[in-house]
Symmetry: C2
Subunit: 393 residues, 2 copies
Amino acid sequence: MDYKVIATCSDSKARAGVITTDHGEIMTPIFMPVGTVGSVKAVHMSELRDDIKAQIILGNTYHLYLRPGMDIIEQAGGLHKFNSWERPILTDSGGFQVFSLSENRKLKDEGVTFRSHIDGSKHLFTPEKVVDIQRSIGSDIMMALDECPPGTSDYQYAEKSLRLTQRWLERGWKHFNETSPRYGHRQAFFPIVQGCTYVDLRQDAAKHVADLGAEGNAIGGLAVGEPVDVMYDMIEVVNEILPLDRPRYLMGVGTPANILEAVDRGVDFFDCVYPSRNGRHGHLYTNRGHINILNAKYEMDDTPIEEGCQCPACRRYTKAYIRHLLKAGEMLGMRLCVLHNLYFYNHMMTEIRDAIEKGEYASYKKKKLEGMMEFDLEAPHDGYNIARNWRKG
Amino acid sequence: MDYKVIATCSDSKARAGVITTDHGEIMTPIFMPVGTVGSVKAVHMSELRDDIKAQIILGNTYHLYLRPGMDIIEQAGGLHKFNSWERPILTDSGGFQVFSLSENRKLKDEGVTFRSHIDGSKHLFTPEKVVDIQRSIGSDIMMALDECPPGTSDYQYAEKSLRLTQRWLERGWKHFNETSPRYGHRQAFFPIVQGCTYVDLRQDAAKHVADLGAEGNAIGGLAVGEPVDVMYDMIEVVNEILPLDRPRYLMGVGTPANILEAVDRGVDFFDCVYPSRNGRHGHLYTNRGHINILNAKYEMDDTPIEEGCQCPACRRYTKAYIRHLLKAGEMLGMRLCVLHNLYFYNHMMTEIRDAIEKGEYASYKKKKLEGMMEFDLEAPHDGYNIARNWRKG
């Protein structure tokens, strides 16, 4: 995996770059739609490629490991073959879902035991095992196993947790270097910086991660309950230390505003369930802010969700019709909302890259944030004030 | 609305024709996907047009009347504008759903009172009112209000019911001729032949309907519990009387085999929820018969649902992946299965038209029916033996 910075900003740390994988190029900064079980919910792969123009998607190791299971994915020749997505795939380590979804989990130095949320069966994830699973999945970018403590953890717990994450990282890194890809294409391995909201722990973690010299690095454990300004501060602390010549992935973040701020601070990769999950509930992103399409005022509104938007929903349907579909419980309604939101996110990333290349990122960001304030009283402020992060898929 | 027969068969009553409406041509015999509340469940209008190549869809008056309601549809300028479907639309009268879905319905000479299955509100459908509603919807083909008695009704009830249907038909026909389209395009009105499984009642009903001289005629009250051979006999009895120079619509029918047999007996129009509803449950139509994709034997099957099929599911995905999506409760799985089934039905209608035009319908039908027997032990025999008809959407 190669990464090249192609433009930087004079008035911020924002940068545009290009990553080359064996499944094609990724222009950064980039947003990855979440394809939990190998499918971005409700979205056809051709829509993802042609309408949303996604360059990379995220798969959840925890979900894929439990269902369909590695036998079926290996038999298909890896996830790319199984789900027919020809472009890059990143998989998480599964750790986050073990902590958020499964029951009776037990954290030990060896790894974490847990029971499946599907059938209650017992499993063990170790730093080595999640590398093996991701080798079976065949993702282009694999993630290290980590513990993600709550954003409100006290120092003592945060430090103890970080030490475990660091021991796991060393084991995972070693195992990564001792094993090979299964399907003939290259796989990168990204370590994750933890350390909660404590500057010294974040610095310690960032140095430890930077010293590995991995092909890319991730920042985890943010947008998990801490105030949004603390999140931005932590990104700054960590990005002071992470190498400039490797891409940086801020895990599970976030709202359009979060992404604009994190790009400003030198982040290149994002993923979040907001656009798809909010879309399924009729909460839609526009350049003027959130709207809730179930609002009665849209009952007879014969305009698209956003004038000028080139997504498949806005090119064809009115708010009144989409609202009717959601009210009637029609699958097509959810699907159109998800398509709109994913298009909005992805299109914003295109604008972001353009602005960086033109050296106008600061003014673009200011204008975009101001525009989005207009409608923001109408819908829940998911994350505009407090970033929350539930990457449950 | 104009109808022209363009080919007939020497060895059957099958005929191919073309109907011209103000929303374009319909090549018959044709299958209409069911778009209950204005949307064919899970399917995007562009898929319906470009992938499935549907020429006409069916909307349910009962559903549209209750939700979104006529205010919203009129405000949009009719259903075509509301749901963005530019091709022809047929609406039923709503009567069938009143009998199958709503509570506390009361049949009177005036019409039928019922309570909404959504909110319990009380409504009255009269023969005149369902014409008015369909004028508001703006469908290209409207249907008369009728009562559809169970396929097992005794003679006395069937006759009493038919007389009511006939009185309603005369009132509806009169009202249709005294009212005008609202949106500038022509609307046709099809009367419906009832009469249960009694030859003399069916003949009486067919004569009464034929005498009206409507632009097309429908056969209702079949595939509602009677043996399939009785259904075929009734079609023959009725089609002896209905005029040859008007299209004939067999309502709510049916399986691929039912359609092949009914075309053989001179039917031109079909609608049925089987392809979409069965698709949502993973029951798939193929040229070798039904398959149930949830069957364990497809767990690692890396072939498409049907080799050579040009539907969006078969062009891209394997049985193993689609099965995984359904097992994981993913919307995309249902959507792919619905697309496949609707494509199968629509593609079969293309084959049927080709065979009629080539004068080879009898041999085509024989071969198609034999082929479909291969897999038929594997899935429920919905309608291969007994045709059932629940057009609940």
